[in-house]
Structure formats: C-alpha cells, structure tokens
Symmetry: C2
Subunit: 162 residues, 2 copies
Amino acid sequence: MSEVSEVPQADWEVWKNFMVMRRQLERALERQLQSDASLSMPEHEILLTLFRSKDKQLRARDLGETIAWEKSRVSHQVSRMEQRGLVKRVECGDDARGVWVTLTPEGSRAVLGAMRDHTRTIRKYFFDVLSADELATLKRITGNVLDAIDPPACDELDEKSA
Amino acid sequence: MSEVSEVPQADWEVWKNFMVMRRQLERALERQLQSDASLSMPEHEILLTLFRSKDKQLRARDLGETIAWEKSRVSHQVSRMEQRGLVKRVECGDDARGVWVTLTPEGSRAVLGAMRDHTRTIRKYFFDVLSADELATLKRITGNVLDAIDPPACDELDEKSA
DNA sequence: ACACAATGGATGACGTGTCAACTTCCCGAT
DNA sequence: ATCGGGAAGTTGACACGTCATCCATTGTGT
C-alpha cells in the first residue's frame, strides 16, 4: 500500500531536517538551562508546572497528566528532584494512594531564576525566526500530527483490535 | 530586553503544543520500530546509515559525522549493538586509532525487515497529514530555527540536500 | 629527530526514560 | 460486607545520551 517510492526525495529531506532540528533545538535549550540555571529540562518542566498551579503543588497523577508523562517517569523524576531539594512529597489526605508533589522554597527560587533567560532563549531560537504566518501553519501542523498519532477517545478500541 | 509579556499567550500555546508533538511523534515511531522490528531508533539510525554506505561500513568518526552524534555516543551505541550482534568493530589499517563499524548479516536483515513498516509509519503520522504547502512552510521553519541555533550545522545540511 | 598539540576512540559516572512487576487503596457490583 | 477490577505510585532493570577524562596514535613545526 504505502511504498517508499511514493515519498519524493525532496520530502524525505524535509523529514530528515525536521528530525535534526527537533534534536538540536532540544539540546540548545538544555545547554542554556543548564548553564544559566543549573536545571535540566525535565526538572524545569516539573518546577514550572508546579509553580503555575494552585498552592504550588499537584498530585503526581495530575502533574503527569498536565505534561503528558507516564507515571513511572514522574515518580523517578520526583525522586531525583526530592534528593536535590527542589520538591518534596506530601501524603494526600483525600486519597491514601495519592501523593502531593510540592515546590520547596529552593525549587521556587530555581524556577524564578531560570525564567528570564529561558524565555529569551525560546524567543531567540523560535519566535524571533518565525513569521506570524509560519507560526499559524506550524500550529495547524502540530494539530494534524497529534491527531494522527493519538486519535481522541479511540485508544482502547485500537489496542484491542490490533 | 526580552520580556515574557512580549510573547502572546496564543504563541505560547503553539510552542507548548509543538513540544508535545515533537515528543509524541518520537515515542510513536519508537514504539512502532520496537514492536515491528525489535529495534530502537538509535539502533535503526546506525543500521540504516551503515546500510547505505559503501561496503556497508564506516569509520566511527564518519558515522558520527553523518548522523550528527558525538563520538562518545557513537562508541557507547556501537558497543551495545555489538553485544546484540547487529554490528561489529574491525581494526582500521590506514589509521591505527580508527575503527571500522561494519554491518553484520543480522544487522542487514534487521534494517531490511524494518524498512517497510517504518516508512509506512512516517507516512501515516507525517506526510499523510501535511499538505504540500504545509510541508514547504515546515521546511522554511526548520531552516530558520537551525540557522538561529547553529549556522554552520545548517550549512552542512544544505550542502547534503542540494 | 623530537617535542607537542590535535585526533580518534574508549570508559566511567551520572541523569534520563521505558517497561514490567508489584503494592496499596478505592469503588462498584453482588 | 466483601470481592474483584481498576487506579495511584514505587521499584528494578535496562537502554540512551552527555560530560569529563583518559590513552594511543598521528601530524606538525623546528
């Protein structure tokens, strides 16, 4: 059905360059964050998410849902960050299975310290080099790709019929 | 200079969705490769690169240069794959420091077996959901971003795709 | 010929991410 | 009330990627 020859060479170049860009962009952000704020991107993502939420804390479940991480990844990352003193775990009254992940003062300081430079970097590598038109197109593109990957509400059916 | 307020909320949404898409796409490809061919993406990338090269082998240096990996990453990955029997190291006559990384018959079989399904998956999640116009815009976007991050690397890509 | 920098690669330590297995707890059906 | 399935998290094993460091070899200038 889908033959290799159906995809023109020029299109493969776009794919390849896209994959390279994806990676280089991530590495550039990683390096900036590390040198300006001594944070990794995963650390920063957790801190920022907590920072923006009510009472600077979230249940591990909700945290993972917000940033689309698996629960085991959240658990591992929180463990490492707890070790570093950036967050701490607190028992959850409502649901004895649950865990609150809360921002420590040090975590708060870290994310605040990172904000300026990180934002500037994203502007520099992303917003500053994209026109309004390109941005709008990119928005459509990401929507299309995400839809293709994860058709809403059909996951279970797909898995079972596979 | 670059304040947070300079980036509109709507634009941040594009950024956020782009980052999510980037990740989901990689995971989808990873899962497909793993289930259809028992290969990881790094493994696949190495095998494909070797497969396309003269005599199905490359010096570690050239291999790393081709796919833009650091030398230590190449070394680690080759070690793991040698363990699995997908590639093997061969001493390099010309330069006693060098190492040939060569495709084993098993590695050849693996990459050939992966090709059909992998291509189909990329079509399904990428080419099939993008119009010619969107593809062209994406090409411009990747170029701009790469240029902003690392002008020299962008030049190399241009040369190769020319 | 020789000292010295640069190159090619290996290695160990560490943080990251996934998968599978496990525990504990909640909740709905009976 | 209780039983069984599903949800929330943890854990261990393993692959991946980076950094710093190390070693052998090669190339260069004098």
